[in-house]
Amino acid sequence: MDTALVAIVSTGAIGGVLGVVIGVVAKAFAVETDERIERVGELLPGANCGGCGFAGCADFAKAVVGARALPGQCPVCSPDDVRNISQYLGIEAEQKEKRVAVVRCSGDCANTVRTLYNGIRDCRSAVVVAGGAKGCDHGCLGFGSCANACPFGAIEIRDGLAVVHPELCVGCENCVATCPKNLIVMVQASVDVHVYCNSPEKGAAKRLVCKTACIACRKCVKAGEEGQMVVDGFLVRTNYENPPTTDLVEKSQCPTSALRLASKHAANEYQGAAK
């Protein structure tokens, strides 16, 4: 049993010394870590979409704990998530409404004049060649740069047109920055009525290249209440401060079907609607 004794004593000693060394080191080189950062990080959805403007969820967590950002800034967090984080940090949870993206174009292949284009299938690249391959200078090019940029698979390219699925969209805004035609805007998820056109050209010019362009006929303006739809040059827009109800689309009988419900648009219920 001699060996055993030697073994026990010597390794015990080594262990003891090491323990002390580690203790000293830990004390001498203590790095201030904040457990709250880790915890907030766990509470965040971890999508790392960058929608908050920080370099990923971990960075955002640090910012939230350091009071440089508010939990509500995370576009992906559900209200519950925001509440949990706020509760954990003991700060006031501000209410925020969910925002979703809208691609303001309804010109799919069937409804628009298109140019034959031979080149890279990416909107941002196509736009450097002849401004894209669409008769309308302002329309969706349909090569799906936004769909590729969406980390949540919320944008579908359907018949050469980007269509947002509002239920999948979390509002990270990655698509907004990607679209070379600046077609995508973020709006409250509660609003369902949108004008799917963004061309400032004259109505006649628009009609030449697109069957579903907004021609500013103002039918919807008249059908809705005062100030619900606003005219902006040759284009009508939803007033998101004072949004119309969903029956406006039914009531106004938009002649080009540029006025659409986002939910129905996503469900592909406007196919062939253009006259």
């Binding site: 073994a7 026990i8 015990g12 000693a13 262990g15 090491l18 323990g19 203790g23």
Partner: protein, 220 residues
């Protein structure tokens, strides 16, 4: 948040105790398995000896003699006895001339010094080339299993190793055909063939040369 309070002595003691307990446990296991390990290791040598030697009833591992071969490599001879009489010797030698490192060869010899059987106990030769010379592969097939057939007995044949059977050392060293000898070498593995040939000859030659000496028996 500030760094946690660190209780240094406690850390030291804790780690020390854990380490001590661990090593204590290890010592116990070490001691209790030491014997079994030794036995298990002998088994391998014994199996090899049984394969190359004629039937014996002693423990050749306990009666060995190490003699330097003409090339200077130490050859370790195991002496096999049956009923007290020497029935054969097994010589083990390590040759550094293998293709990719050492090759350990065990040569079983009859009492008169002629080669009985050769096996290679350790090698790192190129799979498929060098190993074609060194390996005696026995493989049961599914058919054997289903038939419940007999356990494979003896050694699988290998024409490169079997060609030494019955040869006796002495005279000119054996050489492979390429070097002008009469030992068959494998195309593409000349060097391994050469190394094995040299090793077998080292044992056989040393055995013949020191047969007198060996017949006196060996020590531990």
């Amino acid at each position: 948040m500030a760094a946690q309070k660190v209780n240094i002595p406690k850390l030291g003691i804790f780690l020390g105790v854990v380490a001590a307990v661990a090593s204590g446990l290890l010592s116990a296991v070490y001691v209790s398995t030491a014997e079994a390990i030794a036995v298990n290791q002998q088994k391998k040598t014994n199996t090899a000896l049984q394969q190359v030697l004629p039937p014996f009833d002693n423990v050749p591992g306990s009666e060995t003699k190490t003699i330097a071969s003409p090339k200077g490599w130490p050859v370790r001879f195991y002496i096999a006895r049956k009923g007290g009489d020497i029935v054969g010797y097994a010589g083990e030698v390590v040759t550094p001339e293998g293709f990719s490192g050492d090759v350990t060869v065990m040569v079983g010899l009859e009492a008169d010094g002629s080669v009985r059987k050769v096996i290679v106990t350790k090698q790192t030769e190129t799979p498929g080339l060098g190993t074609a010379i060194t390996d005696r592969k026995v493989q049961k097939t599914i058919v054997d299993l289903i038939r419940g057939g007999t356990e494979a007995t003896g050694l699988a044949p290998n024409r490169f190793l079997d060609q030494y059977d019955g040869r006796q050392g002495g005279g000119t060293p054996w050489a492979v055909a390429k070097d002008g000898g009469d030992v068959d070498a494998k195309t593409g593995a000349t060097i391994t063939s050469r190394a094995v040939c040299g090793a077998v000859y080292a044992v056989a030659g040393t055995c013949i040369e020191h047969l007198q000496d060996l017949s006196q028996g060996g020590g531990q």
